[in-house]
Every structure is written in structure tokens, then in C-alpha cells.
């Protein structure tokens, strides 16, 4: 019962005060057997707790996910637009969109396969460096050379 009272403090005061309670359980709380409910309803309650007590978590990951999808759709649209309207605007837009899409994509790959705080940090730092150099190189190419759209057209005319 005391555990239930402590749980309720999450909603009122947020997550942080909970960390300072020495008797806080470091694992999900088991549901007391006195509350006999269908497991589906319990799951709904557990999953709903984040939404019910808004503000106790960060939306960064969720927003990142959405941004990834928006960028993907944007990049899809850029293909035909670049084909029909080649030029510097599309060159730089493609440079930005391609680099960012690749950066986020490889970021997901690293998240899947690299484990351990130090290794994750190093891998992401390396990726950031690579993406920066990639964007710089593409912009350099757009400015000093024929540009992405023209380059593709020239490559295919062989």
C-alpha cells in the first residue's frame, strides 16, 4: 500500500523527487494481487502512464523520429523537382537533405550496433565529423564545380 502512495507522488511532483527516496525500487513495481484485473487493462494503464502524467519524460526521441520521416518525404519530393528544375537551389537543397538523411540513418545504425557509453560517444563524434566533411565537400562541389544536378546529368550522358 505504501508503494501505491509513493507512486502517486510521481504525478504531483514529477519524476525527480522519486530518485532521492532511498527506498525507491529500481525495478517496475509489481501489481498487488488485490487488484485483480484483466492483463490487457493493466498493460493499458502502464502504457498510458506516460501520457497521463505529461511532463515526466522528454519528447526529444519522438520528435527526432518525426523529423526523420518528414525529411525522408522531403527528399522523395526533391528527386523529380531536381530532375525538372536543376540548378543551384536544388544543388544546395539536395546537399543538405542527402547529408542529413545519411547522418540520421547512420546514427540509427550506430545506435543498433555500438554499445557502451564511451564507444557510443566516439562513434557519434566520428559520424558528426564525417557528415560535416560530407556537407562541406558537397557545397564546395556545388560552388566550384558543376553542381550535383549537372553532375548526375553528365554522368548519365556517357
Amino acid at each position: 500500500m505504501a508503494a501505491i502512495v509513493r507512486l502517486s507522488s510521481v504525478c504531483r511532483r514529477g519524476v525527480k523527487p522519486l530518485f532521492y527516496q532511498s527506498t525507491f525500487l529500481a525495478r517496475p513495481l509489481a501489481v498487488p494481487h488485490t487488484y485483480k484485473e484483466h492483463p490487457y487493462q493493466l498493460t493499458a494503464k502502464i502504457h498510458a502512464s506516460q501520457a497521463l502524467c505529461a511532463g515526466s519524460g522528454s519528447k526529444a526521441a519522438s520528435l527526432h523520429w518525426t523529423a526523420e520521416r518528414v525529411l525522408s518525404i522531403l527528399l522523395l519530393a526533391m528527386g523529380p523537382v531536381a530532375y525538372f528544375n536543376p540548378g543551384p537551389f536544388m544543388d544546395y537543397s539536395l546537399a543538405a537533405a542527402l547529408t542529413l538523411h545519411g547522418h540520421w540513418g547512420i546514427g540509427q545504425v550506430l545506435t543498433d550496433y555500438v554499445h557502451g557509453d564511451a564507444k557510443i560517444k566516439m562513434a557519434n563524434a566520428g559520424l558528426f565529423l564525417l557528415s560535416t566533411v560530407t556537407f562541406a565537400g558537397l557545397c564546395y562541389f556545388n560552388y566550384n564545380d558543376v553542381g550535383i544536378c549537372k553532375a548526375v546529368a553528365m554522368l548519365w550522358s556517357k
Binding site: 504525478c11 487493462q41 520521416r69 518525404i73 554499445h115 562541406a136 565537400g137 564546395y140 556517357k158
Partner: protein, 165 residues
């Protein structure tokens, strides 16, 4: 009543007895738990269970890793191109003419075009399939296979068509 004051009720649940939230956030984040898992297993030198070598490969599995492979490959190619642009002395038309002088025969050129076009096509079409999943559609197994084969067919056809341009 303890807990949040107003909450939406699930349809079909009783509204008579007030209930507290059953779940509490854990003392550690998911990230910390994950790191603990890997650190513990690495420290104990535990061998990893076989997975890729024993599980029967399926079309969805292969398409998924191909999507990742083409993505990483294309990203690498773009980065290599960008690096070359920064480092190499000549300009693009110069190197294009250099390649022209090397490759003899239309078949090799066609093959190279197909080699570039296929990863782009596959990653694009499968990317659309992924976005389809992201809006919640097409998860039934027959649908997964149908859309999968469609992606493969479209990729091959598009790549061949583009290689002939």
C-alpha cells in the same frame, strides 16, 4: 483520490472505483539499463547466442538488411564523392573524361549505370514501404510479402530502364 486528478477512461472500464497508476518509471533510464546489460555480459565473457547463423532467412529479413546495406553504401559513396571533391586537384568534367577514356564497351557502362541505379531505386522504393508502415499500414504478413515483392520488381525494372537512358 491519489494520483493525477483527471484522466481519460478506457471504454469498457468501470468508472465507479478510483484507481491509482499502477506503473512507475524505473530509477534508471532505458539507456542505462541497456548499458548495464552489455557491460555485465561483456564482463562475464558470455558468448552470444547464435542468431544470424541459425535462424531461417526470410524475404522480409533480407529486404530489411538490404535497405540498411544500400543506405550505408549510398551514404558512404556520397561521403567519398564529397571528400574527393575537396581533395582531388582536377574538376568533375576532367575526371569524367578520364573515366570515359578507360571504359570500353557499352555493356560495362550499362552495368555501371545499373550498379548505381539499383541501390538508389531499391532504397527509395523500400523507403516508401517503410513510410507506409510508419503510418500504420501494411503489417499483415501477406501484405508485407506483397509490398516486398513489389519493391524488388520495381527496383529491378527502374534500374534497367534508367541504365538504358
Amino acid at each position: 483520490a491519489p494520483g493525477c486528478s483527471r484522466r481519460p477512461r478506457r471504454p469498457g472500464t468501470s468508472n465507479t472505483a478510483p484507481h491509482p497508476n499502477y506503473a512507475a518509471p524505473m530509477g534508471t533510464t532505458a539507456k542505462e539499463e541497456m548499458n548495464k546489460f552489455w557491460a555485465k555480459n561483456a564482463k562475464l565473457n558470455r558468448p552470444m547466442s547464435p542468431h544470424l547463423t541459425i535462424y531461417k532467412w526470410s524475404v522480409p529479413m533480407m529486404m530489411s538488411i538490404t535497405h540498411r546495406g544500400t543506405g550505408v553504401g549510398l551514404s558512404g559513396a556520397i561521403s567519398a564523392f564529397a571528400l574527393a571533391a575537396l581533395v582531388l586537384p582536377g574538376n568533375y568534367p576532367y575526371y569524367l573524361d578520364l573515366i570515359h577514356s578507360l571504359y570500353i564497351g557499352p555493356y560495362l557502362i550499362g552495368l555501371a549505370k545499373f550498379g548505381i541505379a539499383f541501390p538508389v531505386s531499391y532504397h527509395t522504393y523500400n523507403g516508401i514501404r517503410h513510410l507506409w508502415w510508419d503510418i500504420g499500414k501494411g503489417f499483415k504478413i501477406p501484405e508485407v510479402y506483397r509490398t516486398g515483392y513489389t519493391v524488388i520488381a520495381l527496383s529491378v525494372i527502374t534500374s534497367i530502364a534508367v541504365a538504358f537512358l
